[in-house]
């Protein structure tokens, strides 16, 4: 590592500092924040939606919402949990919009099979993706936060605004459904 690079890294601003600069209207700071976290947010959203078509839009909305509320950031050195919490809120809103769309189409007497359900648009790429896609979004998001993103149950509860007991419940159910979908024989034993 060159001395210049080491110095640059030592001088690297924390997420909290970058967000403070974003709050004061500095566009470059938002770019730096995006470079730092976009891959992580994109990966999470991509998996949470099963690779839906609107992943780009969800990532875009997440960072834009973060920029708009940057002044309210609580100052923790890493803002990754906070960003994923915002992404989760957008996922929730997206699910509610789809529920509304289904209801409107239902009232027009269009068969459910003809409606656009986000879950049917999941183009799963592997058996694991297919199994993940079968989970409810709430369970999928909780499972991904715990097992892929490395959040503790307390952190997930805080990010999703739910009791920690609900996190445990969702994790247990998600694992059980995933194992059943992937043909784990021990699931049969447990459920017997």
């Amino acid at each position: 590592m060159t001395a210049r690079r080491a110095k640059a890294e030592a001088l690297q601003a924390t997420d909290a500092e970058l967000l403070a600069r974003v709050a004061s209207g500095e566009i470059g700071a938002l770019g730096e924040l995006y470079d730092r976290h976009q891959a992580s947010v994109r990966r999470f959203v991509d998996r949470a939606t099963g690779g839906a078509e609107d992943v780009d839009d969800l990532v875009h909305q997440t960072f834009l919402a973060a920029a708009k509320s940057a002044a309210k950031y609580d100052g923790r050195p890493s803002c990754r949990p906070w960003l994923l919490g915002i992404a989760v809120q957008h996922l929730k809103r997206r699910r509610q919009s789809f529920a509304h769309l289904l209801s409107v189409l239902g009232s027009l007497r269009i068969g459910r099979s003809a409606t656009i359900d986000p879950r049917s648009s999941l183009h799963a790429r592997t058996d694991v993706d297919r199994a993940l896609a079968k989970l409810s979004e709430a369970k999928r998001v909780t499972f991904l936060m715990a097992e892929v993103e490395g959040f503790t149950c307390a952190e997930i509860a805080e990010a999703l605004g739910i009791p920690v007991g609900t996190v445990w419940t969702r994790l247990h159910a998600a694992r059980r459904e995933l194992r059943a979908a992937l043909g784990d024989p021990s699931i049969g034993e447990e459920g017997a």
């Binding site: 994109r42 991509d46 998996r47 834009l64 993706d129 892929v148 007991g165 419940t169």
Partner: protein
């Protein structure tokens, strides 16, 4: 669970999720070294997590990322520009309003007495906070000055704040077999298999209108359940039943329930197991219909178990099993009764 499975199998997942206290964790780690079934379960859970981590994620090329980055920065720039312009527009609007008001005042003076403008006939919208359970499928629509929530299935807990002077009637919940009109303020409603299954009112009152039945008014502390409908020979319509708890007194506001639950969780996290158990017990007494009640009943068992109170743990476990016979943590709690 099969007869050959280890009775401590459920602790594998509990340990993974950080549900075990230090002593329990140490004990289970010792057990894990000698138990084949638990070791196999731990490996299965880890293999599942590894498989999901290894599954295909987003693979975006550098060019695409740059394009998305530029799109974000451009959108943020537009927001900044709009914010900066906003005050100018505000002054223009204010000037316009002042000119119109001045003209009207001058006209009023020239005409003499003018009848005062009628009050705005359209009340402002009520604000609804909705907590949905996992299975809930619902949507929200605004119809003029009224909000409609369409519940297809699952359970919603709804808290409504009406603007002063406009209590009631601003929110309607459409149900598979009828509708529910809010007269204020906090209630839970559930539906399954194309019918309403359960309505419980914590504060205020609601009107429940089900197909082919007269309206039912439910007030604070009252509950209606589909399975509790009396046979047609006795009464023509279901009647509200009082809540099955010491609560002839209405439940405290939801905010208190949240605080009580948080306090109990904080005591548990701080290792005050006795205090946590007492708080969870109080939560169950005070908020028996809260969506977190099952969690509280289970966590009371956990807290007492950690406190080493064997008999009390068994009693709490029996309480859980009686109240939630098909509860989610039945298997774990059953282990503690034996």
């Amino acid at each position: 669970m099969s007869k050959n499975a280890c009775p401590r199998l459920f602790e594998v997942e509990a340990m993974r999720d950080g549900r075990l206290g230090d002593a329990e964790r140490a004990s289970f780690e010792r057990h894990l070294r000698t138990c084949t079934a638990c070791t196999r379960e731990a490996e299965a859970l880890e293999a599942l997590a590894r498989a999901v981590r290894a599954s295909a994620g987003a693979h975006e090329d550098e060019l695409h990322v740059r394009r998305e980055r530029n799109r974000l920065l451009a959108a943020f720039d537009r927001e900044l520009v709009r914010d900066r312009r906003a005050p100018r527009r505000w002054w223009i609007a204010a000037a316009g309003v002042a000119i119109v008001a001045g003209t009207l005042a001058a006209w009023r003076v020239s005409i003499g007495s003018v009848p005062s403008a009628p009050p705005d006939p359209s009340p402002p919208l009520a604000s609804a906070i909705i907590e949905a359970n996992d299975a809930a499928l619902y949507s929200r629509q605004v119809e003029g000055r009224r909000e409609r929530i369409v519940l297809q299935r699952g359970e919603l807990r709804i808290r409504i704040t009406h603007p002063p002077g406009h209590e009631g009637g601003a929110l309607v919940v459409s149900l598979p077999d009828g509708e529910l009109e809010d007269v204020g303020t906090t209630f839970t409603v559930a539906a399954a298999e194309d019918r309403t299954t359960h309505v419980a009112v914590d504060e205020g009152s609601i009107v429940l209108r089900l197909r082919d039945r007269p309206p039912i008014v439910l007030r604070a502390g009252e509950t209606w359940r589909a399975e509790l409908r009396p046979p047609p020979s006795s009464t023509p319509s279901p009647t509200p039943t009082p809540a099955p708890s010491p609560s002839a007194v209405p439940s405290p506001p939801a905010a208190d329930a949240s605080k009580d639950f948080r306090d109990a969780m904080a005591a548990l996290a701080a290792g005050d197991h006795r205090g946590a158990a007492a708080r969870f017990a109080r939560f169950l007494d005070t908020h028996p219909r809260d969506p977190r009640a099952e969690d509280a009943a289970y966590l009371r068992v956990v807290a007492l178990h950690r406190a080493g109170a064997v008999d009390e743990t068994k009693a709490a476990a029996r309480f859980y099993l009686e109240r939630y016979p098909s509860g989610f943590r039945r298997a774990e709690v059953e282990q503690l009764v034996e």
